[in-house]
């Protein structure tokens, strides 16, 4: 598989899901349990991505400059600072720690 294959397949899948909502008669996902699972799926995947992106280095778990950067990001989101600003500050925190250590 090349990067283009991955991009094409993933894009086709997500676009098909969007079309399904509009073209297929409502049914399965309107029931309570599937709707709840679909909702929580988003939360679980995003949270797992945060953990991996913050702690993983290949197949090992590492505590490095990313951890304080994410803690700062969480504090800023709690203060309702806009997304773009938080992302830039998080990058600056990690970059700063790496530059001075």
């Amino acid at each position: 598989m090349t990067t283009w294959h991955i991009i094409l397949i993933a894009s086709a899948a997500t676009l098909a899901l969007k079309l399904a909502g509009h073209l297929v008669p409502a049914g399965f996902l309107e029931r309570e349990r599937p709707a709840r699972i679909a909702d929580l799926l988003t939360v679980a995947l995003l949270s797992a991505l945060i953990a991996v992106q913050t702690l993983a280095a290949g197949s090992s778990i590492v505590i490095d400059a990313r951890v304080p950067a994410v803690i700062v990001a969480a504090a800023l989101y709690a203060l309702r600072v806009p997304f773009v600003v938080v992302v830039i500050v998080a990058a600056a925190v990690a970059a700063g720690i790496r530059a001075f250590s």
């Binding site: 991955i6 969007k18 909502g21 509009h22 679980a44 995003l46 945060i50 290949g58 938080v86």
Partner: protein, 272 residues
């Protein structure tokens, strides 16, 4: 975009900032007037512009992170044009950044699973896009496809925040189109910036990616159940990282959502 964060809750007022409605707004307004033949719901247009412009800016971070993950500028722009759902886009490049092309299967699966909520949004937006059944005109296929294309967190949220169906329709289209145009432009700019950066770790872009995911997650943590799933999934992903191929820990963590959702555990509502 998309999932792009700060998606307002249904019923909330999404116009968080005053936005000067420029010439673009006039064009939208004229078009909507022509189509509906009535007064245009100004609030829906304002909401759509405010949310749309604020969201579109995030495209810069996506563009830079995608290039840092090893994609070229065309691949990055293709994702914003066709996939056009921020959570899936960030996830795809995040998994590729950690596992490379070998993690392609996990990257596709993660992006697709994050796209499932768009099915739910689509089912909610369908009657709004179609309009009243009494109009007698079936909605053309191209318009259904366009509506599906721009069905994302923000367009759905703005539509649901309006007080009637016509305003909901205007809010949906204004938000969707503004974000689509803006997101693709800013993705391109971000990709150029990322391309010029060189060593992205020295710039802290890996931490920026984690912060971006956190921004997507944050507005979804209002209930105890969601918080419990977030903690559980993070623990599972961390513990399985040393024993599984890169990319798989994220997929395994999705099981937490299925188990908690199936049995409806941690149901209590928190006041937030």
């Amino acid at each position: 975009m998309n999932e792009l964060t700060d998606a307002p809750e249904p019923g909330a007022d999404p116009s968080t900032q005053g936005t000067d409605a420029g010439p673009g707004a006039d064009a939208v307004r004229a078009d909507a007037t022509w189509r509906d033949g009535g007064r245009v719901p100004d609030k829906a247009v304002r909401d759509g512009l405010a949310v749309g412009l604020a969201t579109a800016v995030y495209g810069i971070s996506f563009g830079a992170l995608a290039v840092a993950a090893g994609l070229d500028i065309w691949q990055t722009c293709f994702l914003s044009l066709v996939m056009f759902t921020g959570g899936s886009q960030f996830a795809l490049v995040g998994v590729l950044a950690s596992g490379g092309v070998a993690a392609g299967g996990s990257a596709i699966a993660t992006a697709a699973m994050l796209g499932i909520r768009n099915v739910v949004y689509g089912m909610r937006m369908k009657p709004i896009v179609e309009g009243p059944p009494t109009s007698g005109h079936p909605t053309p296929v191209w318009r259904r496809v366009a509506a599906a294309w721009v069905t994302i967190d923000e367009s759905t949220a703005v539509a649901l925040a309006q007080s009637n169906d016509r305003a909901a329709r205007v809010g949906f289209w204004v938000t969707g189109v503004v974000i689509f145009v803006g997101w693709n432009l800013t993705t391109f700019v971000g990709a150029l910036i990322g391309d010029a950066m060189g060593d992205t770790r020295a710039w802290g872009l890996d931490a920026a990616a984690a912060a971006a995911f956190l921004g997507l997650l944050w507005p979804r943590l209002k209930r105890v159940q969601a918080g419990a799933v977030a903690v559980g999934a993070a623990v599972v992903a961390t513990l399985t990282t040393p024993v599984l191929m890169p990319g798989l820990p994220v997929l395994v963590a999705a099981v937490v959502a299925v188990v908690v959702g199936w049995f409806d555990l941690f149901r209590r509502r928190s006041e937030s």
